[in-house]
Amino acid sequence: MILTKAQYDEIAQCLVSVPPTRQSLRKLKQRFPSQSQATLLSIFSQEYQKHIKRTHAKHHTSEAIESYYQRYLNGVGRNGAAPVLLDLANEVDYAPSLMARIILERFLQEHEETPPSKSVINSMLRDPSQIPDGVLANQVYQCIVNDCCYGPLVDCIKHAIGHEHEVLLRDLLLEKSLSFLDEDQLRAKGYDKTPDFILQVPVAVEGHIIHWIESKASFGDECSHHAYLHDQFWSYWNSSEEESLILWLKSPMFLKNLLLEFCWIST
């Protein structure tokens, strides 16, 4: 079902300064029961990312980091079992996973001689058992499992959704006997930037000629759509006459239910 702009805006409205937690998502689900959890999560994630992009910098000043770290230390000093880090993140309106990263980085700086590399930190966030401090490990783990917009688990979910939709789209194309080249085939042919599928024979959808399909499996708001086109395809296609179909979340269903399930955008 196509989400109207108004609906999207309404959902987004509810997400202003809401912490990205399980509880928030639950409340959202109650508020919009007609939307699937995936849809709501996607919108939540997208809106929250915009929010973080705006506020990211202020959490990364050295003063902020220092004050967060001190508050963390004080908190766990009082009670290591309490959700100190998660509460701190919610309180300062920052994503728990990102807060965990800040504190972990700060902690490692204090306890290791050399500043920690990004890969070490990423690895510890993926598997908090590697964190030398047991209390911090628990705190970080708590942040990660409770964060529904950031963190390795969320990244993995998003990646999985993308992959699943590609598979769905491929199945639908096969079902409709549309001949296409997928990304791997395109790469083998030497294309560096590739859409998910290039139709070997273009199709017309609602009067628009579709040459290629890109499944994004996330919500295509205007802004991300333009940024996306700019980054990925205009350099390659560079033809104003060509039209493309970018399928955003749920849109692979379009071939089954053309009018209801997809939003297409032509360039």
């Binding site: 058992s129 047991g134 688990l153 699943e164 199945d171």
Partner: protein
């Protein structure tokens, strides 16, 4: 003149000043000062007033300096360069005694291009004094008190003492030499009787037409009645006493018999002796009737061996003097003060490859004290000197050399003398060779035999009446018949064009009554001319340009060698030295002879009109110009087409202009210039009335202004090269020559700036102009024009518009095509390498047949050649669309064939490679050895299979082409035509595909296998076992399993709930958990949507979930409030997980996380601690083989580092010791239950 040189040698005058001094005379109209060659030291540019004074006194002699220098060098080298092709040279020895006269000296008769040997007329003794005096003056300078070499031989230093030699050749009494040159006095004269060393002049192997490739200028006695025309003097590299022999047995009637001045007496004596000597040697030598045919006489066989004397840099005498002269000489070359750049290079290379000094004695090699700075002592006292001098000059001329073709560069870079004398130059040449892409074949393409039919000229609509149409058709038939007959027979000995075809041609011309018929015929003639002669090499071969393709069928690896061999076999041995006269090679000869035999005024007039029109049209053709910004990047690709088009236009223009020149000047061509001034004046008065056939001056000016000289000048040179002797004297043409001279001097190669002409463009112009200045009809003194005359035409070349001149339109191939004589440099060097002495002036190529099987290849080649000809003939008779279709089909099918082979054969081989690699990895263990080594092994096994590609490719083309041709040609195409077209398409497609495949298949297989190997190794890397047995979902799977993303999200929620914080009412039901694990199982079994990262996360989450179950941390939702999970439920869930881990996960499950401090910590925090689930889980893991005891032990070991409550550590130790100590149990299920029971009891007891 010598004074100037001497003052230079004495360093009274710097080289730079001298060159400025000379150049000023030559370039008075030049706006820009001559640029300095880079090799010049800064100090060379001091302007010394003293120098100026020293030079200003010599001002009148200025313009004579360069000819003097050139003559000086030629004469000095005469002892070294008796062999090999003579350096043709032409520079007037204009002397002060005989001021320049407008007329050219008398020269050879009709057909001057083949007439190199000017017959000299008898002249009186008195008048003949002049050349000798001049020669003396040139050599010695006009200094007073200096004795002229009265009896000195022409080619040798005068002033050698009269020591007689026992040598049988040309000893003669010496005149009183200068006392200051004792060593010279002892020097032996050249062995003139040695025909090996002193081949008769003009002994270059003559072309079939009997042309003499180069002009050797003989001392020309000047008769009194010709006192106004300046006698021709020359600098020749072999001394002038090398005369053609067998001229006459009667001395008095010989051209040189009379009138030689006393100074030349010895010369004559020498000749006498030479003649006698030679007649002794060659009894059978024919006596030609005229001097012209002399060169055509068979050359006597010669004995003797000329091995090259090794050159040693350490044995160079008077280095400083040689360096200085080399510098002056190089500067003159760099400033274009010499008429012909390539002639000088040829001369220098001759010096470089000089074999040995003639009859030198050891004592000669010693430098003469005090003679260093004078011209008394010979400049080149040994081969070492020559080579040293040559290398010095070559160093200065490196830039030009670097633009020569690859073959020449290779020969230069490999020249051992050059390496020995200047390793630095050798290094630069090697670098230039390696960087060069200018492969130029000196082979002439085969001349075209095919006659094309021009259906469009058959059109009745073009004719006024049926009768005219019919007549024209008949004429066309006669024309082609004549052409065919010429093709068949012109190479037969004794066949004569005029005798064979003349009457038929004239009869045909007689039928061309109406003017319109003439124009039709001329159009046909011109079209045929262009089609036959305007091949890339300009000499012929339109359709048989396919010959290389025929060669390419023999296989790519041998192709290069075959090409070289072919080139050696078919390349003319010598195209006539570095300055051949204009000729009509190949098919051009037919058209020339046709015009001559037809001798029809109407025809000639129509032809001139038509040629002029076509020249104008082509000359003003707008050649596409690229954007200036395109200079870099893909410009090279774009330029290929542009260059090709330019070359086509240029070559067409040259051909047309040559014939225009030939026809236009035909009526005036006489055997020789008018003998008297009066006659000449009257002719001039008459001729100046005649308007030129084509206003070439305007076109030249236009070309210069539009910066299109690179297009206009080469064809103009062709046009002028066929002018008669009077033409250069006519005001109109003289002004053209002046313009060309001006252009020549302005083309300084070292000048490289914005808006300058491209280097190769300049080189082309210098080459063609240099050639023009050397051909017989152009007066020798023309080049060394008097000052001021250059001012006559100022051409404003400074235009902002980017013309052709500034674009790289000329490449080496075009340069060598237009100027085949540049190839002489390469031939000269090659003859040095091959070790053949330049006997008979030619370059003997030694081809050693290494195998006789090569002859076996001959019949197929011929058959294929015939096939190609048949194919061409076939296309000629068919509409052009047929040819296009066949070529298109062949091109596409050939390309598809390659793709097909890639997708089938190569893909199969890659699969084989993968399975071989797997085997290799299994047998050799995980590492499998060095990847590079693996690749080598695989390639060595698989690449031989690439040979199948050719067979398969052939099959593919055979199968696919006919259908395509059939589909594309009209239905109504006759069956025979269709099948021929199909066969040709198959052949062409196969050729294309096989050429590509044979060249690239191995590399392609290698590349693909390499990619496969690295792919396999990468996949093999971290988790080989998991990758190895990766499996998809079962066939019956309908992919209805929950999506992985959904599951991760769900499990994440459970984990979050368990970890907290949570609301009091939150929790999960045990059913939900069971359902979740069930879904996980489904998802893991249907792998449709599963990607490795998702599976990894699922595995990790499942372990976390197990830890929470073991620690009893999952809040269970149930009536009325949340509570803990029942033991039985927990164990059931753990069983589910164990089965998932064991059977369903295909990625490694991080089970060690179960024993991580953090997850064990969950247990530590619970009170009372319940160990039974953990112990149960661990036992099950061990039993199912999911974890080993040692692994568990290691995990537990690392736990000691963590900080635990004291009692926890103790419990841990107590619990796990028995577990780890247990031996392997045969009945896992039973044992597990028992153990759990007992352990639980213990735990409980302890707590």
């Amino acid at each position: 003149m010598a004074a100037v040189l001497e003052s230079l040698l004495r360093e009274e005058v710097s080289v730079a000043a001298a060159v400025r001094w000379i150049a000023r005379s030559a370039q008075s109209s030049e706006v820009t000062a001559p640029t300095r060659p880079q090799a010049w030291p800064e100090s060379a540019f001091r302007d010394d007033p003293g120098e100026a004074a020293a030079l200003s006194s010599l001002r009148p002699l200025r313009k004579e300096f360069v000819p003097f220098l050139l003559n000086f060098l030629r004469e000095q080298s005469s002892r070294v360069l008796p062999q090999g092709p003579p350096t043709p040279a032409k520079a007037p020895g204009s002397s002060a005694a005989l001021p320049g006269r407008p007329g050219g000296p008398p020269r050879g008769g009709r057909g001057a291009r083949s007439q190199l040997f000017p017959p000299t007329e008898p002249s009186s003794t008195a008048a003949a004094e002049a050349p000798s005096a001049r020669r003396g003056g040139r050599r010695r300078g006009p200094g007073p008190g200096r004795e002229r070499g009265g009896r000195g031989s022409g080619g040798l230093e005068e002033g050698v003492s009269g020591e007689s030699s026992p040598w049988a050749g040309g000893r003669r009494p010496r005149g009183s030499g200068s006392p200051g040159s004792p060593s010279l006095a002892r020097s032996d004269p050249p062995n003139l009787s040695n025909l090996e060393e002193f081949p008769p002049v003009g002994s270059v192997p003559p072309g079939p037409a009997g042309t003499k490739p180069s002009r050797r200028i003989n001392p020309t006695p000047v008769s009194e009645e010709r006192s106004l025309s300046k006698p021709k003097t020359c600098f020749t590299s072999p001394p002038i006493n090398c005369v053609p022999s067998s001229q006459s047995s009667v001395p008095d009637t010989s051209p040189w018999g009379h009138g030689l001045p006393p100074g030349c007496r010895s010369l004559q004596e020498e000749r006498e002796m030479l003649r006698k000597e030679r007649s002794k040697q060659l009894q059978q030598s024919p006596t030609p009737a005229c001097p012209t045919s002399e060169s055509g006489s068979p050359l006597p066989s010669r004995t003797g061996n000329l091995t090259a004397e090794p050159a040693d840099p350490a044995r160079v005498s008077s280095r400083q003097r040689l360096e200085l002269i080399a510098l002056i000489y190089s500067s003159c070359i760099a400033e274009n003060l010499v008429p012909n750049l390539f002639l000088e290079l040829f001369f220098v290379l001759q010096l470089l490859t000089a074999r040995r000094m003639v009859a030198t004695k050891e004592s000669d090699l010693e430098p003469i004290p005090g003679a260093l700075d004078s011209l008394e002592s010979p400049l080149f006292q040994s081969v070492h000197d020559c080579v040293f001098f040559a290398v010095q000059v070559l160093e200065h001329q490196f830039q030009v050399l670097s633009y020569l073709d690859k073959g020449t560069l290779k020969l230069l870079a490999e020249n051992e003398r050059l390496l020995c004398f200047s390793p630095a130059l050798q290094g630069r040449l090697r670098a230039a060779y390696e960087g060069s892409v200018a492969k130029v074949s000196l082979a002439m393409p085969p001349s075209a035999q095919a006659v094309s039919f021009q259906p469009e000229t058959d059109n009745r609509a073009n004719f006024s009446s049926d009768r005219a149409f019919h007549t024209f058709k008949k004429q066309r038939d006669v024309f082609f018949e004549v052409l065919r007959e010429w093709e068949d027979r012109h190479e037969e000995p004794g066949w004569d064009f005029e005798k064979g075809l003349g009457s038929r041609i004239r009869a045909m011309m007689g039928q061309l009554s109406a003017a319109c018929s003439h124009s039709h015929f001329v159009r046909l003639f011109q079209k045929q001319l262009l089609q036959m002669c305007q091949s890339p090499s300009g000499t012929g071969g339109t359709v048989l340009g396919e010959a290389p393709d025929v060669l390419s069928m023999l296989g790519a690896d041998k192709l290069g060698r075959l090409r070289r061999l072919q080139e050696r076999l078919v390349a003319p041995q010598s195209s006539g030295g570095p300055c051949p006269p204009p000729t009509f090679p190949g098919c051009q000869g037919f058209f020339r002879d046709f015009i001559l035999s037809a001798s029809s005024f109407q025809f000639n007039q129509h032809l001139m009109d038509s040629l002029s029109l076509k020249i104008r049209e082509l000359n003003s053709l707008a050649l596409p110009q690229p954007e200036p910004s395109d200079e870099d990047g893909e410009s090279d690709v774009d330029w290929q087409g542009e260059r090709r088009q330019f070359a086509m236009v240029l070559l067409s223009l040259r051909l047309l202009a040559k014939f225009l020149g030939f026809v236009a000047f035909l009526p005036y061509r006489g055997p020789e210039p008018p003998p008297t001034r009066e006659l000449q004046d009257s002719i001039l008065a008459l001729r100046s009335q005649v308007p030129p056939a084509l206003d070439v001056r305007a076109l030249l000016q236009q070309g210069l202004r539009a910066r299109r000289a690179v297009l206009t000048v080469p064809w103009l040179v062709e046009f002028l090269s066929l002018a008669d002797h009077i033409v250069p004297l006519l005001d109109y043409y003289r002004s053209i020559f002046t313009l060309l001279l001006h252009l020549h001097r302005s083309l300084v190669l070292s000048k490289e700036s914005e808006g300058e002409m491209c280097f190769l463009n300049k080189l082309l112009l210098l080459a063609v102009l240099g050639w023009l200045f050397q051909i017989p009809t152009v007066p020798e003194d023309l080049f060394f024009l008097e000052e001021g005359q250059l001012d006559t035409f100022e051409v404003d070349t400074v235009t902002s518009e980017q013309g052709l001149d500034g674009m790289p339109v000329v490449d080496q191939h075009l340069l060598y095509t237009c100027c085949p004589y540049i190839g002489e440099l390469r031939k000269l060097l090659a003859s040095w390498v091959s070790g053949s002495s330049g006997r008979s002036g030619g370059f003997v190529r030694k081809i050693t047949p290494t195998t006789t099987t090569g002859l076996g290849a001959q019949p197929p080649r011929t058959t294929q050649g015939l096939q190609a000809q048949l194919a061409q003939a076939f296309f000629h008779n068919q509409p052009p669309s047929l040819r296009r279709t066949v070529e298109f089909v062949a091109e596409r099918i050939g390309s598809n064939c390659v793709k097909h082979i890639k997708a089938t054969l190569v893909a199969d081989l890659v699969r084989q490679a993968e399975s071989l690699l797997q085997e290799q990895l299994v047998t050799q263990g995980q590492e499998g050895g060095d990847p590079a080594q693996l690749l080598e092994i695989l390639c060595s096994q698989l690449c031989p299979h690439g040979a199948q590609a050719l067979t398969r490719g052939r099959e593919f083309c055979q199968k696919k082409s006919p259908g395509a041709v059939r589909a594309l040609l009209p239905e109504e195409t006759p069956a025979a035509v269709l099948s021929s077209a199909e066969n040709i398409a198959v052949g062409l497609a196969t050729e294309k595909a096989c050429a590509w495949l044979s060249a690239n298949i191995t590399a392609l297989i290698r590349r693909e296998v390499k990619a496969a190997v690295s792919r396999t190794l990468r996949a093999q890397g971290p988790e080989p076992a998991a990758r190895g047995e990766r499996r998809g979902c079962s066939r019956a799977c309908e992919h209805h399993a929950p999506l992985p993303s959904h599951l991760i999200s769900e499990i994440k929620d459970v984990l979050a709930l368990a970890v907290g914080p949570r609301d009091p009412e939150e929790g999960v039901s045990p059913e939900h958990l069971e359902q979740l694990l069930g879904q996980l199982g489904q998802t893991l079994r249907c792998r449709q949507f599963l990607c490795p990262p998702a599976e990894q996360h699922l595995a990790k989450c499942s372990v976390e979930l197990a830890s929470l179950l073991v620690a009893d941390q999952i809040p269970v939702l149930g009536p009325p409030v949340q509570h803990r999970l029942e033991r039985g439920q927990a164990r059931r869930l753990l069983h589910m997980l164990l089965s998932l881990w064991k059977d369903d996960f295909q990625v490694p499950v991080p089970l060690q996380l179960l024993l991580s401090p953090r997850n064990l910590g969950l247990l530590a925090d619970t009170r009372p601690r319940e160990w039974d689930l953990l112990l149960f889980l661990l036992r099950e893991l061990v039993e199912k083989g999911l974890m080993g005891r040692t692994e568990i032990e290691a995990c537990l070991g690392s736990l000691h580092d963590a900080q635990w409550p004291k009692d926890f550590s103790e419990e841990l130790a107590t619990l796990f010791n028995p577990l780890l100590a247990e031996p392997h149990m045969p009945e896992p299920q039973l044992r597990a239950c028992e153990l759990v029971q007992t352990n639980r009891g213990t735990v409980l007891a302890q707590s």
